[in-house]
Every structure is written in C-alpha cells, then in structure tokens.
C-alpha cells in the first residue's frame, strides 16, 4: 500500500508551489521524513523504561481545565444568551407536527383528535403503493410487513416508531437537500459544512444525550432532532455530488431554452441529479431506522423502547421479533424509495376514461373507506380473538370487523417465549460453548490482550509521531500536520490511556473486517446474484438493532474484549464489503477485457487490474468502517469496556456535561485524523488513475 501511495505524479507536485512545503511533498524527502518519524517513535519506545514519567504521559499539572471551560461555555450559550429559547421554540413547532401525526397513526390525544387509523387501512395502503411503484412483489413486501407487525402484536409500537420516522425522514431529506444545494453553489459553504458534518457523525452518541434533552425536550422532539442530525450527512454529500455531475450539454440546453435561475435548478439540475439525490434519501431512511433503538434513551417511543425493555428482563425471543420488524420496515421503505427512483411516468392512450387513469388511487380510497367502516363497526364490540376456539363461537362478520380494527397484544401470534427458550437452549449447547470458550481464550490471551498492553506501553509521543508519519505518508503534508495537532489535543484532553484502548478496539475491528470483508466481496462479485445477496445481507446487518445480538454474544464469549470486537466488527464489515463490491463492479469492462486478452491469469487480473482500480472506492469503505467503528466502540459500552465509552457512561451520573464533551472530543479528534488522511489518499489515487 505504501508503494502505491508514493507514486504520485510529478506534475501535481510541481504545481503545489515552492519552499518547505514543496520539499516535503517530494517523494524522496517524504520517504526519509516518514522513516525518520517512525525511527524516533521506536527509539522512544525502546527507551521507555528509562524515561522520566513526564515524558511518557503528559503530567497532570500541565493539563488544562477543559471541563470547566466547556461547562462555562455551555452555560453561557444555552442560558445566559438564551439559545435554549430558540431551540425550545423550534421544538414547539416540531412537537405540533409530531403530535398530529401521532394522533392519526396511533390515536395520541392531541390535535386533530381523530381515532387511530386501523391497521388494515395502513397495510392495504402500503400494498397498493407498493404495487403502483414496483408491482406485485413490492406490494406483497410492503403489505406483508404491516400485516406481520399487526399479527405479531407490535402494531402500536410500530406506529409509534413510524410517527417519528415519517417526520424525521422527510425533514432530513429536505434540510439535507437544501444544504447540499447551498454547498454546491458556494465552495466556501462546502468547506465549512464538510468538517462540521464529520464532527457530527463521529461525535459519540452519549454526547448527544444531554444536549438533546436540554435543548429539544425529552420525547419525540429530541428523538427527531437526533435522528435528523445523524441522517443528514449522506444526504448533503450525495446532493452536492449529483449536482456537480450534471453534464454541461444539459446545462447548455437549459440556458438556450431561456430558463431563469430557479427554472434551471428546478427543471434542469435537480432532475439530472435525481439518482444521486434519491440515493441520499435512501441513506436517510436507513440511518433513521438505525437510530430507532438508541434514541429510545431520549424519548423515542415504540419499537426501540420496547426492545430495551425486553432486554432489561432478558427476553431474547421477544427482542428478536422486534428486531425483525425494524429490519422489515427499513427494507420496505428502502425498496419503495428505490422503486420510486426508477419509476417512469405512465402515459395513457388518448381517450382512456378517468377512472382507468386513476385506478390505483381510487383503489386506495376504496380500501380506506372499506376498512375504516369495518373497524368502526367493531367499535362497540368486545375485542375479537385472532384464533377462535371452539369453532362454534366463530362468527365471520364479527371476526372480520374485530380483527380489521385491532389485533390485541394478548391475541397476537407472537412466539416470544417459545423462541426465547429455543435461543437460550441453543446458546447453552456444550459443543458451542466449548468452541466459543476456546476462541475466547486464544483470541483474548494471545492476540487482544498483548496488543492492548503494547499500545498502552508506548509513550504518548511515540504514538503521536507514528500517527503523524502514517497520515503524512498516506495523505500528504496537510493531513500529516493535522494528525500531529489532533493527537496532541487528544493527549492534552487528559484521557490518553482510555483513548488508546478505544483506538485499539477500533483498529482491531477494522483490521479483521478488511481481512475477511475484502475476500468475501471478491468472492461475491464473481456472480451478479451472489453480489445482490451480499448487499441484502449488508442492509440487514446495518439496520438490525445491534443490541439484539449483543446479548447472545455475551452469553457465548462472556464480558471480554473479544465480545466487544465482535459487536463492532458487524458494523465495520458492512461498509468494507459494500464498497469493495461497488468498486470491483465498476471497474471498466474494457480494462478487464484487455487483461484477459493479454493472457492474465485470474489472480493477475485481480491483483494487477481490478483491485488497484477499485482501491479508491475500497478506501472510502475503509474510511466508513473506521467512522462506524468509532461510533460503535462507544455503544459497545453496553457490554462492558474500559475505554472512553465507559468513562462517558460515568459522566452521565450527575450530568457532567463538560467532562462528557472532553471525552467526546477525544473520540472526534482521533476519528478526524484517520478520516482526513484516508480521504486525501483516496483522492490522490483517483487523480492518478484518471477516475476523478
């Protein structure tokens, strides 16, 4: 990898100006500086036993009182300057919208004070929408998901969750789109927004908790704000990307037609960038559903809260059922939005009657009325059991009306308890326990614990220099300087050992993800069908609430480092596999054909043509994996860790906001360092390969 990184083209170097900077960009100097820095780092490490303590770690007395400063700044902004009134005003508006939606979906006692829409109406509506967008299969998926939610007895929770999603996702889409357009219009805005987005993305979730409830009021409002904030970045990035890619011919045509600026945007740019914008929408939806469980801590109602409740009393079966519902919702919303992308407007023969042109909307209205009437018929009756026994009591009209109105939790088909027992019995199998114990013993004692100890042994300065050297070698001068500054800040924030433990978990999880993910992706890409299955698996793992498999993991591997790595690994694998598949698929066929013609073996073709060309895309995946790892390593605190996440957990007792943010920023600066370096490297490679 290092070799590829150094073969930068000389023209680019020449353009970068003169002086020290130009000298540092020069390849031979770069190589010397790189090895020089690493050499000093190694020397310091060797000398460590004889170094005075002050040189190994920054002495306590030199640490600045960041905690108090942050607390003071927060007090000033939030209360003295009255920022809280602004946010509270905004959340008031948001609350009104959320309440109205909640009233319609599950009958919350707010304006407009309707009764909840019966589940049959929503399920049939989803099926018809699915049919309109993507035919029978999508109709079955969309309708089936809601039928599942009702029959399994999770209807109300699903609607509580949906009541936030249907507000948060459009909000994320619109705000992200607008900011994206703005970034495209102005380079300066883009340059300010991008780093901010990154900080938002890598800021640990535990740091959002307190500000969200203070500024936006605990409940659906805070949950919506947190969800939107989390889902914005991809939408903004994709919008800007799409608009930048609009071809000049199309723009010319628009100008020739005499479009005004607004018309240009509305009729030329946005339609041409449609695909990218809708990919952004798709990511918004996925991320919204990924947040369902986490935001339960700040008032998100529904499935997430119920999931945590089930985990609290150790009901694995039920939490699994809830997890399935969340994944189904994610897949349905995703497939619907994707179908909407490829959907072409329909054209009818002249003279087609009105009802035929509007057949599907009419069908929707008909279903709405039918099921509404049915359920209203049931409103005076006793609840109807789903399965009637004995059959002599069965009365078809009553049953239809009753079931159309509501499936009661007690009557549902939920198999939570039975399922729970079989999961637990499986996890207790002797051979399984023996295998996992062996893995745990070997991986922890011979791999994770020694590497962890080694990382903690390193003097602070060694780590800073090594990271600087790597960032400089990968990305160039600017990433190198930033790496140095950022890691100095991390050291100065005063939680170095914990930061190193965090970094250790992140590195291990990313390393293992690369080691397994890339070969898996290479294997999958050989056949189109395999690749599609792989992408579906990625989607599933991305939205399946991690808490559900954390507990079985604890039962198998105990509360130990390997369990933590496994929980992060699931998240880091997803982007590695996804982007490797993408990268390999998009290698121009001319090049692979050329390789075939020149008689390359499969291995040669892979290593000399496909992988190098896919490398910039894989690097994006690696970068995503690191960002996800930094996010998950804090969540893994749920299992039990000793890193920054555990310390952050401690700050929640007694609401120590300043302390919390000191830890949060330790994570942010480490994540930023790697993000910047890898991105700069990918950018350079893309230029060299002529892909940019």
């Amino acid at each position: 990898m290092a070799d590829i990184a150094t073969s930068s083209d000389p023209k680019a170097t020449a353009q970068r100006g003169t002086g020290l900077r130009a000298m540092l960009e020069d390849q031979t100097v770069a190589r010397r500086v790189f090895w020089g820095l690493l050499g000093i780092a190694a020397l310091l490490t060797v000398l460590r036993p004889w170094l005075p303590d002050g040189l190994v770690r920054i002495p306590e007395v030199l640490l600045l009182p960041w905690r108090d400063w942050i607390d003071a700044a927060f007090q000033l902004i939030a209360f003295d300057l009255g920022f809280i009134h602004v946010t509270r005003f905004l959340s008031g508006i948001l609350e009104f919208v959320l309440d109205a939606v909640a009233n319609i979906l599950y009958g919350r006692a707010r304006w407009p004070r309707f009764e909840a829409v019966p589940w049959t109406v929503i399920a049939s509506g989803a099926a018809i929408l699915g049919y309109a967008l993507g035919g029978w299969r999508l109709a079955l998926l969309a309708g089936g998901t809601f039928v599942w939610a009702a029959l399994i007895g999770q209807w109300k929770w699903t609607m509580e969750t949906m009541s936030v999603i249907v507000v948060a996702a459009p909000l994320g889409f619109v705000i992200g789109g607008l900011v994206g357009i703005w970034c495209w219009k102005s380079k300066r805005v883009e340059d300010t927004v991008k780093p901010l987005l990154l900080v938002m993305q890598v800021m640990p979730f535990f740091s959002y908790l307190l500000p969200a409830v203070i500024f936006f009021k605990v409940g659906p409002t805070a949950a919506t704000v947190a969800t939107v904030a989390y889902s914005l970045p991809p939408m903004i990035l994709m919008t800007t990307l799409g608009l930048k890619k609009v071809s000049p011919e199309v723009v010319e045509a628009g100008k020739m037609a005499g479009c005004s600026r607004w018309q240009m945007l509305r009729y030329v740019y946005l339609p041409s960038a449609r695909t990218e914008i809708l990919v952004g929408l798709n990511q918004v939806i996925m991320l919204c559903l990924a947040m369902v469980v986490l935001t339960a801590a700040i008032g998100m109602p529904g499935l997430g809260a119920k999931l945590l409740e089930a985990m609290g009393s150790f009901k694995l079966g039920r939490s699994f059922e809830i997890g399935v519902t969340i994944v189904l919702l994610a897949v349905v919303l995703d497939r619907l939005s994707k179908a909407w992308v490829v959907k072409q407007p329909e054209h009818y023969e002249k003279g087609t009657p009105w009802w035929q042109r509007n057949f599907l909307p009419l069908l929707g209205v008909a279903a709405f009325v039918l099921f509404l009437v049915l359920s209203r018929m049931a409103s005076g009756m006793d609840p109807v059991p789903l399965v009637v026994s004995p059959m002599s009591e069965f009365n078809l009209p009553t049953w239809i009306a009753g079931v159309a109105d509501e499936v009661h939790r007690k009557e549902s088909l939920s198999q939570g308890r039975e399922f729970d027992q079989s999961i637990k019995a499986f996890l207790a199998l002797d051979w399984l326990q023996a295998t996992t114990y062996a893995i745990r013993f070997v991986v922890n004692n011979y791999f994770l614990v020694p590497t962890e100890k080694a990382l903690l042994f390193l003097p602070t300065l060694s780590v800073i220099l090594a990271v600087t050297a790597i960032a400089y070698r990968l990305g160039g001068v600017t990433p190198g300087i930033l790496a140095f500054v950022f890691f100095c800040i991390v050291a100065q924030l005063g939680y170095w050992d914990r930061a190193m433990l965090t970094l250790h978990s992140v590195f291990m999880a990313t390393f293992i993800a690369l080691a397994f993910g890339v070969p898996m992706a290479i294997f999958a890409v050989r056949k189109e069908k395999r690749a599609r299955v792989m992408i579906l698996l990625c989607d599933t793992f991305q939205t399946f609430p991690s808490y559900v498999y954390l507990l079985p993991a604890v039962m198998l591997f105990g509360i130990s480092p390997v369990t933590v790595i496994i929980s992060i690994l699931i998240y880091t694998m997803v982007p590695v596999v996804r982007y490797t598949v993408e990268g390999l698929r998009n290698v121009p066929p001319e090049l692979t054909e050329a390789a075939d013609m020149s008689g390359a073996t499969r291995w040669q073709k892979l290593t000399k043509v496909q992988l190098p060309l896919a490398m910039p895309t894989i690097a994006v995946g690696l970068n995503q994996a690191l960002v996800f790892a930094f996010f998950m390593v804090i969540i893994a605190e749920f299992i039990g860790t000793r890193d920054l996440g555990q310390e952050m957990r401690r700050t929640l007792a007694g609401t120590n906001l300043g302390w919390n943010f000191v830890l949060g920023f330790s994570v942010v600066f480490m994540a930023l360092t790697f993000d910047i370096a890898i991105n700069a490297w990918a950018e350079k490679r893309r230029k060299i390969l002529g892909l940019a």
Binding site: E115, V218, A296, F314, N444, I559, P561, G640
Partner: protein, 318 residues
C-alpha cells in the same frame, strides 16, 4: 386504548362533581418517565392510572435513567418514581443542587445492592455467604482472562459501585470487570446457569432476577456510616470501602418543583405513594414471568390491591 379513554372520561366527570378537591389540576398531561426495567415501568403505569382515575391526563416518555433528572428539573418530565440511592443518588443530588426538582418522599421499600451469587454457586463453595469463604474459593470464579484469580462482575460504572476499591481494601483475590448494562449481567448469569458454573455478580433487590434465579447476597463486614469517607471505619484501618453496601438504601420519588401548583391533587397523591419490596416484586413478576404488557400488569395490580392505593386518594374521591 378506547376503553381506557372512556374510563378516564367517566372518572373526570366524577371528579369534577366532587367538591373536596382543593383546586383543579391542569388539563395538561402529567409526563411520567419510563426506563428499561420492568418494576419501574409497571409502577409508572400504575401511578399513571391512579392519576387518570382522578381525572388527570397522563403521558409516558421513555428516557435514559440518568439523563431523566435534567428533564425533571426543566419540567419536561413531571416526576420520577424510582430514585435508587445507589444507582441514581448522584444524578438526583446534582439536580437537587441545581434546583428545579425536589424529594417527594420515600417508598417503604428498601434497596440492597451488593455482590450476589445464584444458589448453584453454593454447591461449589459451601462456606458462602461469608466473604472470607468466597475469597477462599476465588479460583472457582476464574475466567479465560483472569488466570487463577476470580472474576467479580460489577455493575455499570455510572452506578458508582466501588467494587475495585473493596477488592483492594479487603485484599481479595478477585479481578473486577464492569458489565455495561443490566442486560449484560443477566446474559452472564444465564450463560453460567446451563452448566451450573459458579459466578459472583453485582445484583440488587427488588428485582425480577430473584424470581428467575434464586440466590443470596455475599455477607461483607457490615456497613458503618463513614465507610466511604473515613479509613478507620471497617476492618481495614487504612482503606476506604472495606464494608458491604448499606442493606437498606432508600427508594425515593422525585417531583418537578412546578408540579405542586400545576397539579395540586396529583402532587398530593404522589407524596403519599409508597410501595413495599413485595409489591414492587409482584409488579415485576406480572411482566417478567406472566408476560403481561406493563399497562395490563398495572391494571391487574391496581385491581388486586385496591386497599393499598385507595387510601392515597384525596378524601371524597371514589
């Protein structure tokens, strides 16, 4: 949902007809926070239903059990029904100092949070529950990573349990590992249950686990006041935390300062509310063992225990 609405509407009509209410409660909903353990959820629903029967509107919001005190302080959440001394005492006290919420009285229930083992552990280490006996069996509790030392699984760090300090103060052969959540503790106990492996973990009462896995607390040198601040207390004259935790920690209710004026009647009831350990355990049982939904469990419990809660209502209410 519908029946409940009708029920509360009827109760509202009834309530407004009764003259004995000092002032009317606001029609705004009383917001009750729910967390992720069953007794708290059922208790919250039970109290919510009592408020509803008095004609109040009630809403529930799920929150983190530490961050909730900030919300109570700001008035976004009206009250908190389970303030555990050990786990949430610090957040509660911090919020109390900042102002905005106050102590609304204790439950009868006392809480105990300490080292605990499931019964099967005693077969392997018959000297239990004494802590010295536990220490002699330390090797039995070893895991893949701890060598010949035992592993004690402590609670999440935000519960501020000082397990490590105690191990050092009493010179025990144990390594302390913190679980990140209650669920992770249950997972470890459940994994040990299959082949009856001895484990010693952090646990507390009242709690659903008592019903699933019978067990006992380890008996440490009894708690003396000042054991956490004065080294001379407890068996080790040079160390803090050389005692067990207090066996009778408080379980409090907390209320937003504005509640008294906005919902005077509900506030009145809140200050009288007091559950016992047995009642709390029963509430948890209905959900954890009987698999009821919290709302139903609360209804069931209120139905079976009218004599308990009817006395808390203002005079003249039904």
């Amino acid at each position: 949902m519908k029946t409940k609405f009708i029920m509360s509407a009827a109760a509202m009509a009834l309530a407004s007809a009764t003259a004995s209410f000092a002032a009317d409660d606001s029609a705004d909903p009383i917001v009750i926070p729910i967390h992720n353990w069953s007794s708290q959820i059922v208790m919250s629903h039970a109290v919510g239903q009592i408020f509803e029967s008095m004609g109040n509107n009630v809403e529930f919001v799920t929150t983190d059990s530490q961050a909730v005190y900030e919300s109570v302080r700001l008035g976004d959440v009206t009250l908190e029904l389970e303030v555990w001394e050990g786990a949430f005492g610090q957040s509660f006290r911090t919020a109390l100092e900042k102002g905005g919420l106050h102590d609304a009285g204790d439950h009868d229930a006392v809480t105990r949070e300490d080292w605990w083992y499931p019964m099967w552990t005693k077969d392997a280490c018959p000297g239990l529950p004494s802590w010295e006996a536990l220490n002699e069996c330390a090797a039995l509790f070893a895991t893949a990573e701890t060598g010949d030392k035992g592993r004690y699984l402590d609670g999440p760090v935000d519960w501020l349990k000082h397990g490590k300090e105690r191990v050092e103060a009493l010179g025990m052969d144990f390594v302390v590992v913190n679980a990140g959540s209650a669920a992770a503790l249950w997972a470890e106990i459940a994994a040990a249950e299959a082949d009856k492996r001895p484990v010693v973990v952090f646990n507390w009462t009242p709690n659903f686990a008592e019903a699933v896995w019978p067990g006992e607390f380890v008996e440490f040198p009894a708690w003396e006041d000042g054991c956490d601040t004065d080294p001379s207390k407890g068996p080790n004259p040079d160390a803090l935390f050389d005692c067990g935790n207090p066996a009778d920690g408080y379980l409090k209710k907390a209320a937003w300062d504005g509640m008294k004026d906005k919902w005077p009647n509900a506030y009145e009831v809140l200050t009288k509310i007091s559950f016992t350990n047995a009642q709390i355990a029963e509430m948890a049982r209905l959900v954890d063992i009987e698999e009821m939904e919290p709302e139903e469990a609360a209804e069931e419990w209120l139905g079976a225990n009218e004599d308990v809660w009817k006395g808390w209502l203002p005079e003249g209410a039904s």
